[in-house]
């Protein structure tokens, strides 16, 4: 069961992973974008970390507080999408103190859908949405935590492989669609790292 303590531990892992990947994410975003994705993620996770000790037991309220902390820390596209996804999950689990790992697929799907609506983008566009969709699909019907972790990480990595040679269709990199072929989307890369950290597979 995922509770407040598990969430706080996950926040710790995620925060260190993002500090570690700071330069790499900036560089990936800088290839065709404005090079701030590492900044967005470290800032956002630091803001959440600062609140971790005060998070309530209600997982919905806790996730809402995380979303708000992230939102305050930056106005970048990725930060706003992340906060949107968190808010969608928060709304769903509001009032509960435990979440079953078996809900992973459904909750990931909720985040994906809210982010699609927020960013007015479709699947297949070589964005973070494709990573989330792959995870939601791969974890469907799965309830064993270890198997869940493995299949989520594999799904995110496979999605990157699958998309690598497609052109970017969204965000700043869209303007360089041709040049973007063969390059990983920075948002997908970041999501893969996030999932690895959450899954404790670093």
């Amino acid at each position: 069961m995922i509770d407040r303590a598990a969430m706080v531990a996950a926040i710790d892992r995620l925060t260190s992973a993002m500090e570690r990947d700071f330069e790499e994410l900036n560089r990936a975003d800088g290839a065709l974008g404005d090079g701030d994705l590492g900044v967005t993620m470290t800032r956002g996770m630091r803001a959440i970390s600062d609140k971790a000790a005060d998070l309530p037991e209600d997982l919905g309220a806790a996730l809402l507080a995380c979303a708000q902390a992230f939102t305050k820390s930056s106005g970048s596209s990725y930060g706003t999408l992340m906060a949107t996804g968190l808010m969608a999950i928060a709304k769903d689990v509001k009032g509960r103190t435990e979440v079953d790992p078996a809900e992973t697929s459904r909750l990931t799907g909720l985040a994906r859908d809210a982010m699609m609506a927020r960013g007015k983008a479709d699947l297949g566009g070589k964005t973070v949405l494709d990573s989330l969709d792959a995870v939601a699909q791969a974890t469907q019907g799965e309830s064993d935590p270890d198997a869940l972790a493995d299949s989520a990480v594999k799904a995110a990595e496979d999605a990157m492989d699958r998309m690598r040679d497609k052109p970017a269709t969204i965000g700043r990199a869209r303007i360089f669609a041709e040049k973007s072929k063969g390059m990983d989307d920075p948002g997908m890369l970041a999501m893969t790292r996030i999932i690895k950290a959450l899954a404790n597979r670093d």
Partner: protein, 333 residues
């Protein structure tokens, strides 16, 4: 190009501190982190609020246009970066005088997502919001995909016209309608000659040869339609007018305002050299020029270059454009 600054991280906050120190009669800062700028004297209850927001580095855009007959509040991001949804929500809260709030800003991914999210946040507080996006940059997408175009200097016309309508006491629907009409009737195109430097980046955003220019480049250095040798002023003006008039043909008898805007470093002298051709082309089309704006209305810090914006005046847009307004950077009437 070199910059006068302290710690680059403080560039925006120090700019805002200086702005309110110099113009306390116009501006006041709000929000936890001081990233909302509002009128020093908030309007009376019942006036429709107008908020904008976007990245810094474009003064007087965005927050400079907070003032009587203009905007009520602006959310202020880092240089060339969207403000956060929280900051935008704070701007909406300050601007709300019980009659609803129009979100009026430029079409950029991060800004759109954040303003939408800000709307979700204030929704809980019973503040009615509407949205009008500027997407006036003809170089950034073909006419068939106008809604994908970037928003640039056209927003100054939208601020002015919607601002006058709100000041005149119109309701949210009417203010939103005339703002949308203005957005629909604005076309812009820019040409850049040099880059600028984002303080936290510390080096020019893009490279451009000493004898080159880029036609259609965006205000953050987004790619344009061609890059080539620098051309004579008249040729530049002719091409820019071609692009605008192809996109929004004018008929004899049309009334139009035109802005010849420096992106920052380009001096007034050169704007006036360009204006000769602009005026000639509009007159050749049979249009009447109303209140031409020549100067620095929407900049990219110290970037060299210019943009032209046409605003076709229909209905009572002209009356709103020429109505009084007052902020630290622009006064009409």
């Amino acid at each position: 190009m070199k910059k006068i600054l302290n710690d680059p991280v403080d560039y925006v906050d120090e700019t805002l501190a200086g702005m309110v120190a110099a113009h306390p009669e116009h501006y006041r800062l709000h929000g936890d982190d001081g990233r909302v700028l509002a009128r020093a004297t908030l309007p009376a209850e019942g006036k429709v609020g107008i908020v904008t927001g976007g990245g810094s580095g474009h003064l007087p855009v965005f927050c400079g246009y907070v003032g009587t007959g203009l905007l009520d509040a602006a959310a202020i991001g880092d240089v060339f970066a969207s403000p956060s949804a929280e900051q935008m929500a704070d701007a909406i809260r300050v601007a709300d005088r019980g009659a609803g709030v129009l979100r009026l800003y430029g079409n950029y991914g991060g800004d759109v997502m954040n303003f939408d999210m800000a709307g979700d946040l204030v929704d809980f507080e019973d503040i009615t919001c509407t949205t009008v996006l500027l997407s006036d940059d003809v170089a950034s997408a073909p006419p068939a995909e106008k809604e994908k175009r970037r928003g640039v200097a056209g927003m100054v016309y939208a601020f002015k016209i919607a601002g006058a309508a709100a000041e005149a006491g119109r309701d949210l629907d009417a203010v939103t309608k005339i703002a949308q009409q203005t957005a629909d009737n604005c076309r812009s195109v820019g040409a850049a000659l040099s880059s600028c430097t984002v303080p936290q980046a510390g080096k020019p955003t893009f490279d451009i040869g000493d004898d080159e220019m880029e036609m259609g480049m965006g205000i953050h250095g987004e790619p344009g339609v061609w890059r080539d040798k620098l051309r004579p002023a008249d040729a530049i003006a002719e091409e820019m007018m071609d692009r605008l008039l192809d996109d929004m043909p004018l008929a004899s008898g049309d009334r139009v305002s035109v802005m010849v805007n420096s992106l920052g470093a380009t001096p007034l002298e050169e704007l006036y050299i360009l204006y000769r051709t602009v005026k000639q082309r509009l007159e050749d089309a049979g249009a009447t020029i109303v209140m031409p704006l020549v100067g620095r209305y929407a900049t990219s810090m110290e970037m060299a270059g210019v943009s032209f914006t046409l605003c076709k005046l229909e209905g009572d847009m002209e009356q709103m454009l020429t109505a009084p307004c007052d902020c630290a950077f622009w006064r009409v009437g």
